[in-house]
């Protein structure tokens, strides 16, 4: 609350009448909500950082229903907000529907894809999550003593399978005999925010021998990381750097720099370059988090292996399979 | 005696529900150590008056004096504190508690149950000896007969130190033997100086046991007289406001061809208990066969199978054609097509949809008749017209077809059911408890209609727990006991005593104190049933 008040304060009252003159950027979160400790929150943090550093302000909204996607896009565009940034793949279609009606407004979809030919005022930002997941997979494969590692996904959607698939490939790359246990928390959006279920899944995987667990599950992952720390095994965080949550117990975090993408888009403002941007290892859009909290856990061998794998991927020597390219995964069955 | 303050004195009690004046300026004095009867038709305001006395309703006007002291009774706790106990028509017992648990319920001494229970057990024992109120204190309520459950209600009141006992229609659910036992209990209570108010609509009970009787009609107290100085005819007239025929006038029957023939019918309920254990009889055109029996001896199940509500085994032919006893063609619709009309025992649960208007109820069960259909829709206007006619012909009051069934009195509800079933001109009419909860004025009318249908050539199967009614209406009487027919009797050649014995499963004469013998027999049967229930 205090944060919001700080940035929005007085501007809020005026926005209705005088929105057009301000040309503030707008941020629309996906249904998960602003404070999901993960993806949307990373976007919010990026926007906040931009506002703090540049003294700017932005408007944002948390959606309640599917129909509000288009509504929010239109209302913000009509109010003259620019650019209008959205998080989550679900915005691709709504943006494609409205973009043509507001040619002067720039729309950004993070994780979504809108045809740049048809909609020249849209920027699609995609992350190569499979590459980042591959790297943490490599680390997990090396850190595991039992040869069994776990993956806890949030809602069972293609994006999360993409995480799981990249991870499994990384694990198999360093230990071809390793077992990867993958579980999804659920099939409804509630799966993004169910730490208790996350904890249960982690326990189940531990009982099957897993000693490293990668949680790509939003708020649910908090429960996974907690249980892993309690049971004295290693875990891997996602999206933001979550190493600090349990120092010495979180092997690493798979970073997805949504915050950077949002801050960059806001900084560019109305002059935002549109098209399609894919942020992978080469662009530092994804990566692994190494800091004081996990320095002891990461051996020299591990660092070397990760660096090597990263270089190979960037150079194109290693091809990490993207689950969403053909809806299948060579290293893991769902 | 006259110097003594009355146990209860009500002065000028009035109570209205909306526009309905349920009690109008009622004053009454009940002397201690007497049994005071309150008699009146349904809806006369008896229950309202007692509810005021027991704290369920607050009177709009008027005062209550208990033993000469003015007393406010805002709730039932206050009534209990004032020494008033009430035995409701529908018992308020916890079915899966034991007797002693029910007795202490709400009157526990502390947080721990054990002391209360042992105290209650002791006091139950002494009460049982004193008043012939014997019940096994550890039996579960659901295993007890209705008569015993009622004793538990009385025990509950006495355990709470009640000096004044109100009984609302206590014999409605009892066998003659049980009713007799109840009256002996009441006698004992009176002898101990307790005051009893007995609410009933049965003149015989009033004459048999009360000292004084007050008559209520349409919310007013029309008279209070000494029982010894009045007669049933006078009381009936006071209740109804006009002269009432207490006997049914009917010509001798002229039975024709066999309409219904039942052979070796057996019915088993969902719990696997055999309710009807092989019953055979036939009914002819223009004949009323009355089935007497204590409630729960298979009559209801017999009616349900004939009416298509329950399933059974055996052979039933109707007008020479066999009718199905199980499967799709055994439902109420199939029965109606076969020419069977059914006035069910429980009009509120079965015969009527209480939330439906009278008009919707007059086609209930016959709503599929093409004459009420036009295309997909029902011909509501025609149905309302039909209802209007039926209500006039059967003198249903108020004659408003749109009024919901629940807003009619019991007698008028029954008339709606009768109008519907009788005017179908059935070959066979099944009638269960036609006058239960119906006031005297309507009883007369209902009886006449049933006889009129017989005289038109229909066969009638009558089930009633009221022996008077069976005797008055039937051309032949069958007595059911324990799922079997004990025998057939000609009403002209039998009497209540003989039938009563058959109803208790006893054939022939009993030496000595026969009612006691019957009591013992009934108790044996109950114990058996309790065992059976325990096994199941």
């Amino acid at each position: 609350m205090t944060l919001m008040t700080k940035f929005l304060g007085a501007a809020a009252a005026m926005a209705l009448s005088a929105g057009a003159a301000l040309a503030e950027p707008a941020l629309i979160y996906d249904l998960g909500g602003k404070f999901d400790k993960s993806f949307n929150e990373a976007a919010f943090n990026g926007a906040t950082k931009w506002a703090e550093e540049n003294g700017g302000s932005f408007r944002d909204i948390e959606l309640q229903s599917e129909a509000q996607r288009e509504q929010a896009l239109r209302r913000f565009a009509e109010a003259g907000l620019n650019p209008v940034i959205t998080t989550g793949f679900a915005f691709s279609t709504p943006i494609a529907n409205v973009a043509a009606d507001y040619p002067d407004t720039k729309f950004v979809t993070i994780d979504g894809y809108v045809d740049p030919e048809a909609h020249p005022n849209v920027l699609s930002i995609l992350f190569s999550e499979h590459q980042g997941s591959y790297l943490v997979g490599v680390m997990a494969g090396m850190a595991s003593e039992s040869g069994t590692v776990g993956f806890v996904g949030g809602m069972d959607i293609p994006l999360i399978r993409k995480f799981a698939c990249g991870y499994a490939q990384g694990v198999k790359a360093v230990n071809p005999d390793a077992t990867v246990i993958a579980n999804m928390t659920g099939t409804t959006p509630a799966a993004w925010n169910d730490p208790v279920k996350g904890s249960e899944l982690a326990k189940a995987q531990i009982s099957q021998g897993a000693d490293v667990i990668f949680a790509a599950a939003g708020g649910t992952g908090i429960g996974v990381l907690q249980t892993a720390a309690d049971e004295d095994i290693l875990s891997i965080g996602v999206d933001s750097n979550q190493n600090y949550l349990h120092p010495g117990k979180v092997l690493t975090s798979m970073l997805k720099r949504v915050d950077v993408a949002v801050a960059d888009a806001m900084a560019a403002g109305e002059d935002l370059e549109t098209g399609v941007k894919v942020l992978g290892l080469a662009e530092d859009g994804v990566g692994v988090a190494i800091d004081d909290n996990n320095a002891e856990l990461v051996s020299g061998d591990m660092t070397t292996a990760v660096e090597e794998a990263k270089a190979k991927i960037i150079a194109g020597d290693t091809e990490v399979h993207d689950y969403t390219a053909d809806d299948s995964c060579p290293a893991l069955t769902f | 005696m006259t110097e003594q303050a009355p146990a209860i004195e009500l002065k000028g009690i009035s109570k209205a529900f909306g526009p309905v004046q349920a009690n109008k300026d009622i004053s009454i004095r009940v002397m201690p150590g007497t049994i005071h009867g309150i008699i009146g038709e349904n809806g006369a305001g008896k229950s309202t008056l007692m509810s005021i006395l027991y704290g369920f309703y607050k009177a709009d006007r008027g005062e209550i004096f208990i033993s000469g002291r003015k007393t406010e009774i805002p709730d039932s706790q206050a009534a209990i504190a004032a020494g008033i106990g009430m035995v409701f028509q529908h018992f308020k017992l916890v079915e899966n508690f034991t007797v002693v648990e029910n007795v202490i319920l709400g009157a526990e001494d502390g947080a721990m149950l054990r002391p209360s229970i042992s105290k209650a057990r002791k006091s139950l024992k002494s009460l049982a000896e004193e008043y012939e109120l014997n019940v096994d204190p550890d039996a579960l309520i659901e295993h007890l007969s209705v008569g015993h459950q009622q004793r538990v209600e009385i025990l509950k009141a006495l355990y709470r130190q009640a000096d004044i006992l109100i009984l609302d229609e206590p014999t409605g659910v009892l066998t003659p033997a049980e009713a007799d036992h109840l009256f002996r209990i009441l006698d004992n209570l009176r002898a101990e100086g307790k005051t009893i108010i007995l609410i009933t609509h049965k003149l015989r009970e009033i004459m048999e046991i009360t000292d004084t009787v007050s008559v209520m009609r349409r919310g007013e107290m029309t008279a209070t007289v000494k029982t010894a100085e009045t007669s049933p005819e006078e009381l009936a007239e006071l209740m109804v406001g006009r002269k009432v025929l207490l006997r049914v006038d009917k010509k001798p029957a002229t039975p024709g061809d066999v309409v219904l023939s039942v052979d070796d019918l057996k019915v088993t309920d969902d719990k696997g208990v055999h309710r009807v254990k092989g019953v055979s009889f036939e009914i002819r055109k223009g004949e009323i066969l009355g089935i007497a029996g204590v409630a729960g001896n298979g009559q209801s199940e017999l009616m349900e199978v004939l009416g298509g509500i329950a399933q059974g085994t055996g052979t039933i032919t109707m007008n020479g054609r066999t009718i199905a006893l199980a499967g799709r063609d055994s439902d109420g619709q199939a029965r109606r097509r076969a020419g069977i009309a059914h006035v069910p025992e429980d009009r509120q649960r079965e015969g009527l949809i209480m939330d439906y208007g009278a008009w919707e109820n007059v086609v209930f069960g016959y709503h599929l008749d093409p004459k009420w259909q036009s295309g997909f829709l029902m011909r509501n206007t025609a149905i309302v017209e039909e209802a209007q006619g039926k209500m006039e012909r059967f003198d249903v009051r108020p004659p408003n077809p749109k009024l919901a069934a629940k807003n009619f009195s019991g007698g008028n509800q029954q008339k709606i059911v009768l109008a519907r079933e009788i005017e179908q001109n059935p070959d066979l009419l099944l009638v269960g408890q036609p006058t239960r909860g119906v006031d005297i004025g309507a009883i007369e009318f209902i009886h006449q209609e049933i006889i009129r249908l017989r005289d038109q050539g229909a066969a009638v199967l009558l089930v009633s727990v009221e022996l008077d009614e069976i005797m008055a209406l039937s051309d032949r009487i069958a007595v059911m006991f324990d799922g079997r027919i004990m025998g057939f009797r000609d009403p002209a050649e039998t009497n209540e005593r003989e039938l009563g014995l058959l109803m208790a499963g006893i054939e022939g004469e009993v030496d000595g104190d026969e009612w006691q013998a019957i009591d013992r027999q009934l108790e044996r049967k109950e114990a058996e049933e309790a065992r059976e229930a325990g096994d199941a």
Partner: protein, 364 residues
């Protein structure tokens, strides 16, 4: 013995309930330091004063009419169908299959086809709990709510593994072919000089919902099936006596209920998104319970209550857009209305009855 005139029951009680909910909501808004009057203005302005606002209000209302009617029909048979959510999900699936795999020449035919598809799928989903209740006595409340979860899992599987176009991120079906796109209010009512309902999702399905109201009214109060459904609802023992098979009525009422809930899918999938998304029902199945409760299970009441809830949804969106009232509090405000109009009915009714009885006594 009428305690209260009918108009008071139908009009006064909901109004007082709404007022109470509004007062409490105002207090909530005050407590977080916002101006309740402004917030209310914003809701009215955004939901009712602009044609596009109406377009959203009526879009939501269309959903709630279908699910509200579904609950109401089942309730007339004393079945508490809280599986509207799952039935609507399956209805959406029916719409998707019909729209994707049948080459429709024109939207009007496609609409007919998808209505049938939605109704069939919704009814099929309601059939299993209905059968279990009718033949096995499994409690309908338990089974229908469990079927919501099963529906969510099924839909997820179908979308993620079968219907999702290869390479797409979103667990949603492909876009429906253009021939199936339904005319929106904008298409129907907007002219060049007067651009009404711009971008709003309300579409021709709204009129189907109105027709459904009429259908339910006729069904319940004018047909013999409705007569039997109500009879069964009021008293199963009496229904048996009349030769009405309780099992048959339970199943039929639930099939109709499921079909109505399923038809919500036409509005969300075909009318709005023009594809099937995973989260298309968004709790409308549950809102339907509140709508039916508030509408006293009467189609007219359901219609009015649905529009009210549509207003709350659209007004809530406006609040989220232009104020700092967090989303959670908007949900609280919506919940307060449900609480007061649905669950706390008696809290208003009892005192009101007493007042009317006192008035009557004085009058008499």
């Amino acid at each position: 013995m009428e305690r209260m005139p009918a108009w008071a029951d139908v009009v006064l009680i909901p109004l007082i309930s709404l007022l109470l909910a509004a007062i409490l909501s105002a207090l909530v808004i005050l407590a977080i330091g916002e101006n309740p009057v402004e917030a209310f203005n914003l809701m009215v302005e955004g939901a009712l004063m602009r044609s596009a606002g109406w377009g959203y209000t009526l879009y939501y209302a269309t959903n709630f009419i279908f699910t509200g009617l579904a609950v109401a029909v089942a309730f007339h048979a004393r079945m508490f169908n809280i599986g509207g959510e799952g039935q609507a999900m399956l209805g959406g699936l029916g719409v998707a299959l019909v729209s994707l795999y049948i080459p429709w020449p024109h939207w009007s035919l496609a609409l007919l086809g998808s209505c049938v598809g939605a109704a069939l799928f919704g009814a099929a989903w309601a059939f299993i709990p209905a059968y279990l209740q009718a033949k096995r006595g499994s409690h309908i409340v338990i089974t229908t709510i469990m079927f919501n979860f099963i529906a969510a899992a099924l839909l997820n599987y179908v979308l993620v593994s079968l219907l999702k176009p290869v390479g797409a991120m979103d667990p949603a079906s492909a876009n429906f072919p253009a021939a199936t796109h339904l005319p929106t209010f904008q298409d129907m009512f907007a002219t060049a000089e007067n651009p009404l309902f711009r971008g709003a999702p309300a579409n021709v399905t709204f009129f189907i919902a109105l027709a459904a109201c009429l259908f339910v009214w006729l069904l319940i109060w004018r047909t013999r099936l409705g007569y039997e459904i109500r009879a069964q609802g009021f008293s199963e023992s009496a229904a048996k006596y009349a030769g009405i098979s309780p099992a048959r009525i339970i199943i039929i009422a639930m099939l109709i209920s499921g079909a109505l809930a399923g038809m919500m899918g036409v509005n969300t999938a075909q009318g709005e998104a023009e594809r099937l998304v995973l989260n298309s029902t968004e709790g409308a199945g549950f809102i339907g319970i509140a709508v039916a409760l508030m509408g006293r299970n009467h189609p007219l009441g359901v219609l009015l209550a649905a529009i009210l809830f549509g207003f709350l949804y659209q007004g809530g969106a406006e609040l989220a857009l232009w104020t700092n009232i967090p989303r959670e509090l908007i949900v609280v405000i919506q919940a307060l209305v449900i609480l007061f109009t649905g669950a706390l009915d008696n809290m208003v009714r009892m005192p009101l009855e007493r007042i009317f009885m006192a008035l009557n006594r004085k009058g008499a």
